[in-house]
Symmetry: C5
Subunit: 294 residues, 5 copies
């Protein structure tokens, strides 16, 4: 059975194969489009599939960090031929093809498709783990040091998870399609394997949902910690005011150019008034504290 392994959808070889195997022009157009989404389309004489393998690559904006990156792999799987178009820079798709070559069987393109899909799905787990780690870090950050930058990181991950979720939902639908479609190329005895892959994708989606919940919790913690800090600052201001106001009031009173102020002529007047001020401040603080206002 021939297996054509292309690495560029614009390769003229593809046009030749399209003529030879009667591939639908819309599928060729899809394979060459820049923003394909994951899908499986079972025609009468072959199945067209698009998957999105993911790999971690260094993040140019944050040195030392990595970021999940999607590439595209297209498959045309007939009864007696297989055409794959993958991006050679993606280790996940390279690994998928390699495993298919090693474990697969030249006479069963359906099994090769399963092996490729299964490997691609396996490569989503490190991406999910990557976000798990990032979210754990954010949760620590948001408690220790609730800065606005944390918020931007939360929203950046939210945005990534929106994309990841969409790819996973489509991959799940594709796996379901390979099980249920009456034209599916997967023979009954291999359905259990596809169902297993489907279960893996469903578990990945569960994890993404959990991560979204955790991010929302992080956001709530952040917002409540900002409210708390405002509260704390207000209290500091109030304590400072409480400490100083009696002194200001008393010193203001004794600064007046009036006659008849008690102790005004006493040689230890400053001492008496100083003691009185301290006592007044302490009483005020005790009252506020008792009423749980501070």
């Amino acid at each position: 059975m021939p297996w054509y392994q292309l690495t560029d959808p614009n390769d003229p070889k593809l046009d030749e194969l399209a003529r030879q195997y009667n591939l639908h022009p819309l599928h060729i157009e899809d394979a060459r489009s820049a923003d394909e989404s994951v899908k499986v389309d079972s025609g009468t004489n072959y199945t067209f599939a698009v998957f999105k393998p993911v790999h971690l690559k260094p993040n140019p904006d944050a040195p030392g960090q990595q970021m999940p990156t999607f590439t595209t792999i297209d498959l045309f799987a007939g009864k007696d031929f297989l055409i794959t178009i993958n991006d050679p820079t993606c280790p996940a798709s390279a690994h998928a093809l390699e495993r298919a070559r090693r474990d697969g069987d030249d006479e069963h393109p359906a099994h090769l498709v399963y092996l490729i899909l299964d490997t691609i799905v396996d490569h989503y787990f490190p991406a999910i783990d990557y976000y798990d780690d990032r979210i754990d870090d954010l949760e620590d950050d948001v408690i220790d040091n609730p800065e606005p930058e944390v918020l931007q990181k939360v929203f950046a991950i939210k945005r990534d998870l929106i994309d990841l979720r969409r790819v996973l939902v489509n991959t799940r639908d594709a796996a379901l399609h390979l099980q249920r479609d009456p034209n599916t190329i997967i023979p009954p005895e291999q359905q259990l394997y596809v169902r297993d892959t489907y279960d893996h994708v469903a578990r990945l989606l569960d994890s993404v949902e959990t991560q979204r919940d955790l991010l929302n919790n992080t956001l709530d913690i952040y917002l409540s910690s900002v409210a708390n800090r405002t509260n704390e600052v207000m209290k500091v201001l109030t304590v400072l005011g409480t400490i100083v106001l009696p002194v200001l009031a008393i010193s203001g009173i004794y600064g007046m150019n009036l006659h008849g102020l008690p102790f005004a002529d006493s040689p230890n007047g400053a001492l008496y008034i100083g003691i009185f001020s301290v006592v007044a401040t302490v009483i005020l603080l005790v009252i506020l504290n008792r009423r749980k206002w501070l």
Copy 2:
């Protein structure tokens, strides 16, 4: 096959055609109504369809900016006739008719309907891109300069997206109807094309959902940045208070007309007390800073 291209639903020619081809009065009424919504209605002898092409036109309220604008196109497609009523000011519907004329086939009205729908859907992509750009700008704005105007822009786009989403949902249902309806005019060999258009609309809807999520994130960033700024202002007030209060308290004390204040008679009293005030302020700031209250 005759193709009647009208540009005004109130053209008396339409009444004539209605008699000739036995068009249903409700469809004529719909075509003439001001607020039609997207739909496909397959009758026994013809299919009535309403689509909403979109084009960008200059925004009168914001010079230099554009805004997506919907017009309406009505189609009556029978086995051997086609009637179209489009708004001639809309480049998207003009383009759709032009492509149908060029690529279509006079004997297959169903194919013409597909070509028109497909072109209309293609024209939604620039509208989505337009909102992507606007939302990107807003995200930058909200971080650099969180003003209430940003909020009004966010809600204006939200309102637009509500409308756009409704049109897309109805267009998706219309494309589904063209695939599934037992009376559909689309022959089986062209179903794959309609399914492709359906996939495009589904992807557009995905994008709109993502944009709504991003707008909600922008809103959360805005609200939290307002809370943060209040927090910052409170801290400034507290720092100012902290710096000034010791000076006020000490100067108040030495302003009292009392006897017995230390250094009151010393020739360098002002210097000693000045040093004492600065030291007291610094100690207070250090304490507050250590406790992370500032």
Copy 3:
């Protein structure tokens, strides 16, 4: 065909008709109950329907304003009789009966039912427009003058929309029932008309959903504008404090009864110190402004 037009469900005539046409006691009980909800119930020999026409009536609490008000109309439509019970004070139900009398046909009770339902649904549009106008006003109010009263108006409309939505959902289900039910009295050739009415109700529901979204936006704008105003007030307080604190500190220092203060004995001391105070205040304001704290 006899058409009995009652205006009071407690009319003893209804009991007589119930005996004559074998009406179900539960339907008679429903017709006489105070809080009927919209429904269609197709029995073996007749169909029982409850609709809720709406009309705008002057609002006693807000002179010059109107408010949507629901009444009830009950229909018993058999093959060869029609009984209607409407509230004579409601212009919408009066109009519905009048149109049925004018356009309907004595021999087809089903068509009369359709005409009544269609007219009732047409009368929902002014109610929706009424809320559109109210929400537009609120949106202007909330930006110009965010007072707590705006909030109460928002919640009052929300409450109204909850009721309106329930009536519309039930009316939509009733229209669907008239199309789908195997016992439906509507003959196949009139189904297109009922479907049209169904589409109208669906569009009304879409509008109500949009209005709920817009009200939520208004609420968010209100809450964020309260947060903004708090922020503004804080800034005013901080600016005032910043302007006055240097003057207070300096005047406090020169109010001390101490020796050795610079310029204390200079004849132009007040002028020098005044200039110094103004310069200190300006420097402080410039620093705060540069750091974007104000």
Copy 4:
């Protein structure tokens, strides 16, 4: 037909009946369990049903107030026997049995079951009305006097509504089961009655949903009124500061021990400076007011 009316599920009579009528051990276990939930279980020779009648009883925590309380009633309805186990302290279940005894027919256990269910459902309406009144009171409270206690009342009702909603959802499912189940004991000619009961439960559920919406509105009003009050307090503080600061600054200046202050030696200096202070304060207030900062 024998009707066994037990009032205690632990009555040994029940074991005897279980042997006699071949009741399933799981049903007996359910009847004796403390936390049964509403359900209908149609077996081959009898139907087992659990309902939850509600009644209002005095609230021990809030004298003068009432609170809805659930009890349990179990029914075993065969073709020729009926066993009921009710809590004798519940007026709703007593009323249900009494009505069944009065209106029911000894030969039709199914009709007795319907009568009991219908009476139980009728008794939910006062409970819903009770919450309507409580929520109306809360809405008035939250506007007049937004105290934290209001919030606790809101959450207490929310918690109650969660329970009530669960009971109603299960009761609705039970009513549906009595209509749809192929083994149902309800004969076709009585289905209309069960459907009517089903409609009542659906309307009760609608009311509970509305009440949840209203409680959420109350919560939003509460939170926004707290934000508003903080805003008001801030403004009072700022107005007080604005009134007093010019006086403090000016009196501070004239309190300095410096030479060269204008009017310092004028006999009416205090008057001139007093007028100047008042004018400065008024100008400041006018400026702040114009800029809408207060």
Copy 5:
């Protein structure tokens, strides 16, 4: 009938059994995987099931407290054999096997599977009760003492409930699968038992949903109490300011080195001015109080 009770999925005995009973390699792989999720998979000659028993074990982070912990139990149930692999440290799975041994019947593996599942489900109730107690404690805490730590506890429980909910949803699906699957090993006469277990899981899920609602309420109470406290602190600050400002203003005025101040030369000037200050403060407080600003 042989029943193989393994305690370690890596036991080489499992490979031997896999060969003997023709177990599917994917099932063996699942049993040996670290993060299995709950499922039931009915093959042609046996059923593979994974359950997650829960038990409470001491929490190492919080001495004296406990925490729910999941382990895994795998079952391979054929017509004439049963293989179980359980974690021996888990009392719940030990109890399940013990009950199966005691009440089960060697010839019916399906009944053993039911007994094991039922015992596992029974052991979820204490875990739910555990969270009920924790949430009750939190609700008391959040009202008495709203500290940020409460928030962290709320989010920790939320996270736990996300996990618990997932396990329960999968267990419910597994129970449904045992009822509905055409290949199910459960014979018809035992379906009622499995349905009973299904009802228990559904009730557990209801409880988890209620707990999530209650946690959200707790969160709202927390956030509103922080807003309230900020409000309280603001009021204290304003009251302090209100009390002190008249004294400061008056004492400032009488501290000026000016001529013409009233009572300046009176021997009881200090007394008159003191009375005037107190009266001014009281009037100010009364005004603020009347306007409900404090």
